[in-house]
């Protein structure tokens, strides 16, 4: 537990290179916007 810094995220993104890329997640533009690309809001479905 850090005293001065609280980290909101978990692991470094680069670590997902190991087991990511299954492609089963939703296509981002299908969800609600249709006018802006929103990717960071999606949860990995694996």
């Amino acid at each position: 537990m850090k005293k001065h810094i609280k980290t909101l995220s978990s692991t470094a993104l680069q670590s997902t290179l190991v087991d990511g890329g299954c492609g089963e997640c939703q296509t981002s533009c299908q969800s609600a916007c249709k006018t802006s690309c929103t990717v960071g809001n999606q949860a990995c479905e694996r």
Partner: protein, 451 residues
């Protein structure tokens, strides 16, 4: 070397943040941590971990917080290096289609990007044989992919409801034979919603997007019937409320557009929440700059302030036990998409395609009608082999602007159509949209810091 180019430091509502763009890590800093991170960011003498460790030796004031910073550096979560090369990505398959089942609409909304439904072409409906061929194409083109998606779009898809139902039934039957699952979405203006259609949507559609801009006067200013008579707001709100009563917890969004006419759009979001719509999206209008409702650079300070006001409203309602969800404040920090997905972005042009009523394939719904972007058709598939590769290569690591941006792995470079329109190139950026996306990200991190 410490990579300082992608670290973004900002403060909001009395909280301080450091976003490490290369690792997509977000940190909340106290005053001392802010001081140190800003010092490292601005110091020409601290360029490596060793420089920092040496600096801390001589500055006892920072030793405790410094050890926390060093730990984050060691974990690759702060001042982290970016990828030196693009990782080899898995082969892409087409996994989603936007089916423009109707190039026609029963509304004449002033800001419509599809020229009030016809996409600068003929007003027409998609015949069944085209929809069927589109399903066959998707099932084939999706290869090994288990989950595939169809979004019924337009124009107004309810104008061609018979084809929508027939497509759903055919697609589900064919998918079952191949061990695949369809996710259907429908985007509607609500005018043609009947109890039977609402029931069908609730049963079969994974997601439904219901268009409504907020307060009655705001909605009806831009969303109008062809005759201009009657209130679209009054016509659709009860229909949406009835549909959602039977939604049973399945996904939906009430989706609005804000323009220069309602820069106080947080009030529209609040209004939608008050109507009982808990899942809300409010998008900046996409239009040419000469329109009176266009959002322009001079509006930015007001829009920024409004997003901050909306973030406070979001928190206030949540604390009061009356929460609503705002699409653009959703950022998944714990179990977000993998790096491959973030390099793919929307997948337009190679994973996600749009189909016109005549069966033409375009990179996405935004490109429909632009003949330079015609990819093929649903019978022959993708015949323009070069274009999908261009789309696939147009990712943030190949964009000189995005590569050094802290937001790159959250927005994935934004909308390619907008980028091309405003910067003349896929690898450029639509700076205005970019600024709004960054502001929304800041607000979403601010919200998450409270939980």
């Amino acid at each position: 070397m410490l990579d300082k180019t992608c670290v973004h430091i900002y403060s909001q509502g009395g909280l301080h943040f450091a976003v490490d763009g290369n690792s997509a890590a977000v940190h909340v800093l106290d005053e001392l941590a802010l001081e140190l991170v800003e010092l490292i960011q601005g110091s020409a003498g601290i360029t490596t971990r060793e420089d920092l460790a040496a600096f801390l030796q001589g500055h006892p004031r920072y030793q405790e917080v410094g050890s926390e910073v060093l730990e984050l550096i060691d974990q690759g979560l702060l001042f982290s290096p970016d990828l030196t090369e693009v990782p080899p990505r898995p082969a892409s398959v087409v996994k989603a289609l936007c089916l423009n089942v109707a190039h026609d609409c029963n509304l004449r909304c002033g800001y419509c990007f599809a020229s009030t439904g016809n996409f600068q072409g003929e007003r027409e409906l998609m015949p069944w044989d085209v929809a069927k061929a589109a399903v066959d194409f998707l099932l084939e083109a999706s290869g090994h992919r288990r989950q595939v998606e169809i979004d019924f779009f337009g124009g107004e898809p309810l104008l061609n409801w018979g084809v929508v139902e027939r497509t759903v039934e055919y697609a589900q039957a064919q998918a079952a034979r191949r061990g695949k699952t369809f996710r259907f979405t429908i985007t509607t203006n609500g005018l043609g919603l009947t109890p039977a259609i609402a029931e069908y949507i609730n049963e079969h559609m994974y997601n439904v997007v219901l268009s409504l801009d907020g307060r009655k006067e705001v909605n009806d200013l831009m969303r109008a019937t062809p005759s201009g008579r009657g209130s679209v707001y009054e016509l659709v709100v009860p229909k949406y409320q009835r549909l959602l009563e039977g939604r049973g917890g399945k996904s939906y969004y009430v989706r609005g557009t804000f323009t220069a006419h309602n820069l106080d759009f947080a009030d529209d979001v609040a209004h939608l929440a008050d109507l009982g719509f808990g899942e809300i999206s409010m998008e900046p209008v996409v239009t040419s700059e000469d329109q009176p409702w266009a959002l322009r650079e001079e509006h930015l300070p007001r829009i920024y302030a409004e997003y901050e006001r909306l973030a406070e409203l979001y928190l206030k309602r949540r604390r009061a036990g009356r929460p609503f969800n705002f699409f653009h404040f959703n950022v998944e920090l714990l179990k977000g998409p993998c790096l491959y997905k973030r390099l793919t972005g929307c997948g337009a042009g190679y994973e996600y395609l749009a189909v016109t009523p005549t069966g033409e394939l375009y990179p996405c719904h935004q490109f429909v009608g632009l003949k330079d972007f015609l990819l093929g058709d649903v019978w022959r598939g993708i015949t323009n082999q070069e274009l999908p590769l261009k789309f696939k290569d147009a990712h943030v690591l190949n964009s000189p602007v995005c590569k050094s941006c802290w937001a790159k792995y959250f927005c994935s470079g934004g909308c390619k159509k907008s980028n091309r329109e405003y910067a003349g190139d896929f690898l450029g950026v639509d700076e205005f949209s970019c600024k709004l996306a960054k502001k929304r990200l800041e607000c979403s991190f601010y919200i998450q810091a409270h939980f």
